[in-house]
């Protein structure tokens, strides 16, 4: 069960591959039949406007603690073998990965449900805020789109 907040660009797929090799497989190789991974990427448009850049603010300390809380809740609700959350903060560009959540389990139903839970809870509870760079200036994103 790991969470990370990153200031630099990351590749979700390299992170997953490394995590499986270095953290998961030494303990759980042969036990997980299912991994569900969600990767959220910065789009170059939002609510009808072109977006050329983004600043992601967070509440250092509280954000970490809520990502851990959410991971803990997933582990209590489902038989997951492990979960991983990585979230980017700071200045980013279109097509940059923003967030990665992953859940490993013996079976696929659990992996899908836990991964979905992680991203929905992250979006509704973890203190991150997006500020978009538009052609006409900047704007704070006011709310996330519902699930």
């Amino acid at each position: 069960m790991n969470i990370e907040i990153r200031e630099n660009q990351f590749s979700p797929w390299e992170e997953i591959q490394r995590y499986e090799k270095e953290v998961l497989d030494p303990v759980h190789a042969g036990q997980y039949g299912a991994a569900t991974v969600f990767s959220g990427t910065m789009r170059e448009f939002n609510e009808g406007d072109g977006v050329s850049g983004m600043f992601l603010e967070h509440y250092s300390g509280m954000t970490d603690s809520y990502l851990e809380k959410i991971s803990q809740e997933a582990a209590e609700r489902w038989e997951v073998l492990d979960t991983l959350i990585i979230h980017r903060v700071g200045v980013m560009m279109p097509n940059d990965p923003i967030v990665l959540v992953a859940a490993w389990s013996a079976h696929r139903g659990v992996a899908f449900e836990a991964a979905r839970f992680l991203i929905e809870e992250l979006k509704s509870r973890a203190p991150f805020w997006k500020k978009e760079q538009l052609e006409e200036g900047e704007r704070w994103v006011e709310h996330n789109t519902p699930a």
């Binding site: 967070h58 509280m62 923003i98 992250l122 500020k131």
Partner: protein
């Protein structure tokens, strides 16, 4: 002291990162807002945290607490 913090669009509206209060100035999060908001009404969707846990306006505050106010979260 009570440490008060603002985030995101609220920080920009307030024009500052936060404030500090004497414990005697406020006994709940709602009262903290009154002291630091320069007369601004509490937005209906305002989120509040005490020591990094979501709380509400009635939550008591004591010396040494960190109280944060911020708009709806938009991560992910």
């Amino acid at each position: 002291m009570i440490e008060v913090r603002f985030f995101a669009s609220l920080r920009e509206e307030m024009g500052r990162e936060g404030a500090q209060l004497e414990p005697s100035e406020a006994s709940t999060i709602g009262e903290v807002w009154e002291r630091v908001a320069d007369g601004k009404k509490r937005p209906a969707n305002l989120l509040m945290a005490r020591n990094m846990d979501y709380s509400d306006a009635d939550t008591p505050v004591v010396d040494g607490d960190e109280v944060a106010f911020f708009p709806p979260v938009t991560g992910g």
